[in-house]
Amino acid sequence: MPAAFDEMRGSGGDLRPAYLQLARWLGELPPGFLPQRMREAELLFRRIGITFAVYGEADASERLIPFDVVPRILAASEWATLTRGLEQRVKALNAYVKDVYGKREVLRAGIVPEDLVFQNPVFRPEMNAQRVPHDIYVFIAGVDVVRVDADSFYVLEDNVRTPSGVSYMLENREVMMRLFPDLFARHRVAPVENYPDELLATLKSAAPATAAADPTVVLLTPGIYNSAYYEHSFLADKLGVELVEGRDLLVKGEIVYMRTTEGLKRVDVIYRRIDDDFLDPLAFRPDSALGVPGLMSAYVAGNVTLANAVGTGVADDKAVYSYMPEIVRFYLGEEPILKNVPTWRCREPGHLAYVLAHLSELVVKEVHGSGGYGMLIGPRADKATLAAFRARLERDPKGFIAQPTLALSTVPTCVEEGIAPRHVDLRPFVLTGRDRVRIVPGGLTRVALKKDSLVVNSSQGGGTKDTWVLDA
C-alpha cells in the first residue's frame, strides 16, 4: 500500500498552508493541555450524552462516539472544488432517480443494466411513473468523500436515503468553540450553525403546490428506540418543527394530517427518517406499526412531499455506484469532478475472476451492506478470512463489489502517544431544494482512531472530528 497523504504535512513533510496556524498552536501548548481538553470535551459530550442516552439503555455514557479535539482543516480552494463536485454529483443522482422511475432513458441507452434497477430490492415499483413535487427526489444527501493526495477527492459512497450524522457536525463545532476560543480567533472558520435554517428552507421550498403559503413541515421518526433518535429530536428542535411518530399522523381524503391539541392539522412536508419499507402498511410491509396507513396514496396524489422521496435507494447501492461516472456524463454532459474509486462488479464474470485472483489486494464490500460490516480488507486479512470470503463471493457474486485499497489521507489526531496521523473520511451534507443547492461548509469527519486502521465507522472504533473550512 502506498504511503498515505497527510493533510498537515503533505507528502513531502512541509507544512501545508491551511495547517500553519494549527501547527504553531500545537507547538505552543503546555504539556498535558490537550489531554485535559479531551477530558473536558468528553465531559461536555457526556452531559449531552446523558441527555440523549440514545445508545444502550444500560450504560449511556460508554456508548458515546469518541471525539477528537484536533480539527481537520480544509482550505477555501479545496472546499470550492469539493462543493462543485458535490453539487454535480447530487444533480446527477437526482436526474438518475427521476429517470429510473420515469422515462428510463438511462436503461434504453444501455448505461445501466436493466436488472440492476428492476431486480434491485430497493427499487420501488410503487414509484413508477409517479410525479413527486418539483421533481426532487434527493433533498438530503450525505456523500462520503475521501482524499488520497493534495488534489484528488474520491466519492466512497452516496447516501441518499436517510443519511445521518449531521447532529455530530453541529455538536462538534459547539464543543470546539467552547473549548478553544483562542484557536478560533487565529483562524477564520466558516460557520456551520446555519445548517438547520438551510434544511428548513430546503424542505419548505419543496412543499406541494396544494400547500398553504407557509407550509407545515414535520420530522417523522421511528421513535425512541431508533439508534438515531437523538439526532431526530435534536434536528426537530433546531428546525422548530414537530417531531412526529407514525401514530401522530393520519390520512384522510388523500391529505396528511397530524393530531394536535387543537384538532387535525394539515402536514405538507415530511422529513422522514423512516425507511421506505415501514412508511405505509397499506403499500409496503403490512406489519409496520411505525408508518402511516395511506401515506403513499396522499404522496402519489401530490398532496405531501416526502424528503427524501420513496425509492431513492436505487441510486446509492454499491453496484450502481460503479456506474456513477457514466451517469454524470449521461445526464449532465460533463466530466465528473469528484472521482469514483475503480470498482469491480462481481456480477460480471470477467470482474469476478479478477477479484478472486487478487483478493488479498482488494477491499470487497457487500452491495447492500453498510456501516463497515461484511467487508473484507484484503491486505489486512489472514488466510482463513480470505478463504471464507472467497466462498461467499463464489456463492453470491451479485452481492459484492471490489475496490483497490485506498490510502485514505491522514490528519493529526490526539491519541495516547501524543499527536499522530490517523486516517479520515468526510461526509458533507448536500441539500437540494426547488430553488437551489445548499451545502454548509464542513461536514462530519470520521477518523479511524486505531493506528493504521482504515475503518472509520463508529461501530468499529471510529471517532469524529470537527471539520473546518477556512474562509479565503
Binding site: 446523558i50 441527555t51 425512541i224 429530536s233 414537530e242 411518530e245 401522530d248 393530531r259 391539541t261
Partner: protein, 313 residues
C-alpha cells in the same frame, strides 16, 4: 402542539406526582406502624397504605398479607406494579424521551437523572434507614422536576398541560386518602376514638405534607373535622381539593383562551370547582363525607377523560 406531546407532558407530570405521593404514604405508614401499640399502632396500617395507593386489587392478587416488607416492595420497587414508584419514574422518563423537544433541558435532566439514579437502589438489600432515605430522595426528585417545570418552561400550552397532570393527580391522591380514612375524620369520632387518634390524623396530614400547615392555618390542636376542612375546602392548602381545582380551572382557561375555543373539559372543571366553593364542612358531614368523596373521585376521573378526549388523542 401534537396531541401525543400534550399527552406525554400531562402523564409525565402525573407519574412524577404519583411517585411522590406513594413515597409520602410509605413514609407516613412506616412512622405509624412503628408506634407502640398503646399509641394506636395495632391496626394494620399496611393494609390501609395499599388501599390509599389505590392498588389493593393488584396487591392482594400477588401477596397474601400486607406487611412492611411486602407493601414497601410493591409500592416502591415492584416492576409488576404499574403504579410503583419505580414504574412511575420509568414511564415518566420514557414519556419524556418521546417528547424530548417539548421539555426544557432542566426538566429533562431532572427526570433522566432520577431514572439513572433509580437503578442504583437495590431493594432487596435495603435497610429501613436506606428505605427512608430512598423515600426522601423520591420526594426531592419530584420537587426538582416540578421546580424545573415552574422555573424554566414557557407559559404556553405545553406548560398548562403539564400543570393539569400535576393537579389532576394531586386531587385524586388527596381524595383517595380521604376515601380510605374518612371514618377517622367524622365529627362523632372524637368521642369514639379519643386523643390517641392524634397519630392517625397526623399521619394523614403528613402524607399530604400538611402537618405544619395545619397549625399555621387553624392554630389549634389537631381536630378531625378541621383536617377534613383543610384537605377539602381550604384553598390556601396546595394539596386541598379546592386548591387543585382552582389550578385546574385556571390552566384549562389558559388553554381555551390560547386556542380560542372551549369545550366539555372547561365546563366540567368549573362545575366541580363551584361545588367545592359553595360547600361548607358541616353540610358535607350532614349529607355524608364518604358519599361526597366518592362523588368527587368520580368527577375527577370524568374530567380526566374529558381532557383526554378534547385534547390528547
Amino acid at each position: 402542539m401534537l396531541a401525543r406531546t400534550a399527552d406525554n407532558l400531562y402523564w409525565v407530570s402525573r407519574y412524577v406526582e404519583r411517585a411522590e405521593y406513594l413515597a409520602r404514604i410509605l413514609e407516613a405508614t412506616q412512622r405509624l406502624s412503628a408506634l407502640p401499640i398503646a399509641y394506636g399502632g395495632t391496626t394494620n396500617e399496611w393494609d390501609s397504605a395499599v388501599a390509599t395507593a389505590g392498588c389493593a386489587g393488584a396487591f392482594f392478587a400477588a401477596h397474601k398479607e400486607a406487611n412492611e416488607e411486602s407493601v414497601t416492595e410493591f409500592l416502591a420497587f415492584s416492576p409488576d406494579n404499574p403504579s410503583s414508584i419505580r414504574s412511575c419514574f420509568e414511564v415518566a422518563r420514557s414519556n419524556a424521551r418521546a417528547m424530548r423537544t417539548a421539555l426544557t433541558i432542566e426538566m429533562w435532566e431532572a427526570i433522566n437523572e432520577t431514572w439513572l439514579e433509580l437503578r442504583r437502589f437495590q431493594p432487596s438489600s435495603m435497610s429501613r434507614e436506606e428505605i427512608a432515605r430512598f423515600l426522601r430522595w423520591v420526594q426531592e426528585c419530584s420537587l426538582r422536576f416540578d421546580g424545573s417545570a415552574y422555573r424554566t418552561m414557557l407559559r404556553n400550552d405545553a406548560y398548562w398541560f403539564s400543570r393539569l397532570g400535576v393537579y389532576l393527580e394531586r386531587a385524586d391522591n388527596t381524595a383517595r386518602i380521604l376515601d380510605v380514612k374518612y371514618h377517622m375524620l367524622l365529627p362523632a369520632h372524637e368521642h369514639v376514638g379519643g386523643p390517641l387518634d392524634y397519630f392517625q390524623w397526623a399521619a394523614i396530614l403528613r402524607s399530604v405534607s400538611a402537618l405544619t400547615a395545619y397549625h399555621w392555618v387553624y392554630r389549634e390542636s389537631v381536630k378531625p373535622w378541621l383536617v377534613a376542612d383543610l384537605l377539602i375546602l381550604n384553598d390556601q392548602m396546595p394539596r386541598s381539593l379546592a386548591s387543585c381545582y382552582e389550578n385546574i380551572v385556571r390552566n384549562l382557561d389558559s388553554i381555551a383562551r390560547a386556542y380560542g375555543r372551549q369545550g366539555p373539559a372547561q365546563r366540567q372543571a368549573r362545575a366541580v370547582r363551584t361545588r367545592l366553593q359553595n360547600s361548607r364542612m358541616d353540610g358535607i358531614f350532614q349529607s355524608g363525607l364518604h358519599e361526597f368523596i366518592g362523588g368527587f373521585i368520580a368527577d375527577n376521573n370524568r374530567l380526566g377523560a374529558a381532557i383526554a378526549e378534547q385534547y390528547l388523542v
